[in-house]
Amino acid sequence: GAGVSQSPRYKVAKRGQDVALRCDPISGHVSLFWYQQALGQGPEFLTYFQNEAQLDKSGLPSDRFFAERPEGSVSTLKIQRTQQEDSAVYLCASSLAQGRNEKLFFGSGTQLSVL
């Protein structure tokens, strides 16, 4: 596809439910990032992949959050036992190279609402 694709676009979950958010990066992009954006705030870093390797997961807020990119392309962010504070927009971004100073291309995000 032409851009970063995320699904679902919207997700409503009951507290305690597990959710899985999918990201299809731009084809050939090596780097993949997940960000969390709370209402009225800027995106906050969650985790970073270079191909299939998860090189930085320092932003994951708890062990309920798990991300994977097993074949170095599609990535899934999984949140177990969702809590109300998990409600946010989850943004995926990719970039072509693995070096520094590469601009990121963002998807439209998944808006998660936990009731």
Binding site: G40, G42, P43, F45, Y48, R100, N101, L104
Partner: protein, 109 residues
């Protein structure tokens, strides 16, 4: 710990006039700075960037200025157009981006 701050949550400007957005950062290790623009229900899109070895970068109506000693950057939009109405995020890079909270720009006709 907010390493990138945008202290003006909103800005209203007349069409045709200049929009100036400001951003401050605390980490002197940042070496690359970017501005992203975001429309409702869309992801942020890249607007313009600047390396820490420069103090100015221009792209059409958009100019970014970097003052490293003050740890400050600004985005100038001249002239402002109605389509510029959006949320603008400042970001700073080590390899991952740290974002400010955003400034909502409204361009009045």
């Amino acid at each position: 710990d907010q390493q990138v701050k945008q202290n003006s949550p909103s800005l209203s400007v007349q069409e045709g006039r200049i929009s100036i957005l400001n951003c401050d950062y605390t980490n002197s290790m940042f070496d690359y700075f970017l501005w992203y623009k975001k429309y409702p229900a869309e992801g942020p899109t890249f607007l313009i960037s600047i390396s820490s070895i420069k103090d100015k970068n221009e792209d059409g109506r958009f100019t970014v200025f970097l003052n490293k000693s003050a740890k400050h950057l600004s985005l100038h939009i001249v002239p402002s157009q109605p389509g510029d109405s959006a949320v603008y995020f400042c970001a700073a890079s080590l390899y991952k981006l740290s974002f400010g909270a955003g400034t909502t720009v409204t361009v009045r006709a």
